[in-house]
């Protein structure tokens, strides 16, 4: 634990939940209602699959149709009303074996007795050419961490959700110009954030524009982009911040600490516990064939119950009726 010195001043919780979608928010509702100090770390309301869903009509009890981000918002409000704390932060690293378990975010270090991983399945399968080679040399995934290095310079931000917009707004405090490369015609961020971005004097929006390649010898020098309507061009930038989404489970921050299937999803036992005691997982990050909000939410409730039993030494305890 060469990084343990960082734990000084870290905030301590009973349960840290990574991901605030239906699985994470429901887990938080259950742990908070069980009087556990609960922290949810999340990248934003539209960072996950439900938050990006325009309309949902098959969530039981909500005849709807209701916007996905509204339903997630209601679940979060409910968890918060029982005391769960929500922090917008991106988890960069975790140390799960120790007691307490440690989580490093872009904005701070957090400690928890138990961890529930509910990061979903919008992870990326493919990298942009040049991304890996120039990682740490101008390519970054964390504006809070690296934004200050780009004071007075031009940077590109690739993405279209809340996370990408928030990161761009953070960067706008330092960089002289933000080239916001949106792979889709419209932003998928909440209206307020989208408006802030569009109105920002330092931001140039590039709708329906993909990155072809990040170029540079030792450091990032430019980004080559392809707008949908044609006309490839090169934008000189000193940094590229990437928040693109794909469709694989998000487990990169675990750095191999937990076993995954060949498809990359997290493996858990019947109580949703991973290979490390006290670390649980719920929702689309798990191996499953049905990706449905109500199923993810139920897994959040189950993972929370398992975490509560783990924290109170009640793993062996069963309800009377299942003796």
């Amino acid at each position: 634990m060469e990084l343990s010195f960082l734990s000084t001043g870290a905030e301590r919780y009973d349960v840290i939940i990574i991901g605030g979608g239906p699985a994470g928010a429901t887990a938080a509702l259950y742990t908070a209602r069980a009087r556990l100090q609960t922290l949810v770390l999340d990248k934003g309301l539209t960072a996950g699959a439900l938050g990006l869903t325009a309309q949902i009509a098959n969530y039981p009890g909500v005849p709807g149709p209701i916007r996905g981000d509204e339903l997630v918002g209601r679940m979060r409000d409910q968890a918060a009303s029982f005391g769960a704390e929500f922090v917008t932060d991106k988890v960069l690293r975790v140390e799960l074996q120790g007691k307490p378990k440690q989580v490093w975010g872009g904005q701070g270090v957090y400690q928890g007795q138990a961890v529930i991983i509910a990061t979903g399945a919008l992870g990326r399968t493919q990298r942009v050419p040049g991304e890996e080679r120039l990682l740490g040399r101008g390519v970054s995934y964390c504006a809070t961490c690296d934004g200050a290095f780009f004071r007075g310079r031009e940077v590109a931000v690739a993405g279209n959700n809340d996370e990408a917009v928030e990161e761009a707004l953070t960067l706008a405090r330092f960089a002289s110009r933000i080239h916001f490369l949106n792979p889709t015609p419209d932003l998928r961020a909440t209206a307020k954030l989208a408006g802030e971005l569009a109105d920002h004097a330092h931001v140039t929006l590039y709708p329906a524009t993909r990155i072809r390649e990040i170029v540079g010898e030792e450091r990032v020098e430019a980004v080559q982009v392809i707008p949908q309507q044609g006309g490839e061009r090169t934008i000189p930038v000193g940094g590229v911040f990437i928040y693109l989404q794909g469709n694989v489970p998000i487990t990169d921050f675990l750095e191999g600490q937990l076993p995954t299937s060949p498809d990359g999803c997290l493996l858990v036992d019947e109580n949703l516990q991973t290979a490390i005691p006290g670390v649980f997982a719920a929702g689309d990050v798990l191996c499953k064939h049905l990706k449905q909000t109500v199923i993810a939410a139920a897994e959040g409730a189950r993972a929370a119950t398992a975490a509560d039993r783990y924290l109170h030494g009640r793993e062996q305890l069963r309800p009377d009726w299942s003796r």
Binding site: N58, P60, G61, V62, Q78, V294, A298, H312, P319, W321
Partner: protein, 317 residues
């Protein structure tokens, strides 16, 4: 598809009108499958008797169990499911199409989802049967009002016992919790609330041996399991929360049941009989949470849909 006798063969017959069955109906409708829900006498299932549901995600202000059940029913209906209140008297899962018998009709279905729930267990002590519904209850929401200013006994130490016991403190002048051990199994939030409530009192390490009374309940005789001593607690009502019994009597011999009588399923809600699925409390007694039951209903319906699409049924035929 006409059978010549009773008409339609449904894609799905859903047995049980609680959160699991109704969510299965929503998903069946979304998949454009014909579905009928055969509900027991209490549409909405046990949640309908729950005063306030605070932990069903999506309702920050909480929702009454009755309203939640009604919303799920409306949603299932909107997606085309037919909901009928007809007690099932017999089932035959031996050969497809499966048949379900009620007093008035025979239903035929290519697949079946069992979502008949689980029901509160009774103590099985003298006096209980005689006073059931007349002083002995398993539903504070239903019967609490009758005990205004009275003293009641709650038997059990789990979430249900304390949750409903706390509800009873709104009416009763004293709520005596009789528990067979020296600590509670209930979640901390309930324990804290219960211990802080001046109306609640606890009798530990004790079991109820008899429910006493002439015309009405006058009290319970309890035995301390450590000392063996017996004593009488005067009370006007007894609320029993000592576990659940699955509603599976009709399914014995049709699908595999476990020792307690719950339907055995795999992780995909499949029973031992191909084409028959199970969801909710009837197959998973550990959680008894609305969202967990609803999710298993969704999963069962999607699995039934897949089963129908794969044409396995056709091959058997």
């Amino acid at each position: 598809m006409d059978t010549g006798q009773t008409g339609q063969i449904y894609d799905l017959i859903i047995l049980g009108g609680g959160p699991a069955g109704l969510t299965a109906a929503v998903y069946a409708g979304r998949a454009a499958r014909s579905a009928v829900v055969l509900s027991g006498p209490l549409p909405g299932g046990q949640v309908a008797t729950t005063q306030m549901v605070e932990n069903f995600p999506g309702f920050p202000e909480g929702i009454s169990g009755m309203e939640l059940a009604q919303r799920m029913q409306a949603q299932a209906g909107r997606f085309g499911a037919r909901i009928v209140i007809e007690p099932v008297t017999g089932v035959d899962f031996s050969t497809p199409p499966f048949t379900i018998q009620t007093h008035t009709e025979t239903y035929r279905g290519r697949t079946v989802i069992i979502a008949t729930g689980a029901f509160p267990r009774r103590l099985g002590v003298p006096g209980e049967a005689r006073f059931f519904g007349r002083g002995v209850s398993t539903c504070a929401t239903c019967d609490g009002f009758f005990y205004k200013g009275r003293r009641v006994v709650v038997v059990g130490g789990g979430d249900s016992a304390l949750d409903e016991g706390l509800f009873l403190t709104r009416f009763a002048r004293e709520v005596v919790v009789v528990h067979r051990r020296d600590q509670l199994r209930a979640a901390k939030v309930y324990q804290e609330r219960a211990f802080a409530n001046p109306v609640m009192r606890f009798v530990w390490d004790s079991v109820v041996e008899e429910i006493l009374g002439e015309q009405t309940v006058s009290g319970v005789r309890v035995r301390n399991v450590k000392s063996g001593e017996t004593s009488v607690i005067e009370a006007d009502g007894v609320f029993v929360y000592v576990g659940m019994r699955p509603g599976t009597q009709l399914f014995a011999g049709q699908v595999e049941l476990d020792e307690q009588g719950y339907v055995v399923t795999d992780r995909r809600q499949r029973t031992s009989r191909p084409g028959v699925f199970a969801a909710g409390d009837v197959q998973s007694p550990d959680f008894r949470q609305v969202v967990v039951a609803a999710a298993s209903g969704a999963m069962a319906a999607l699995e039934a849909d897949r089963f129908l699409a794969d044409g396995v049924y056709t091959r058997w035929n």
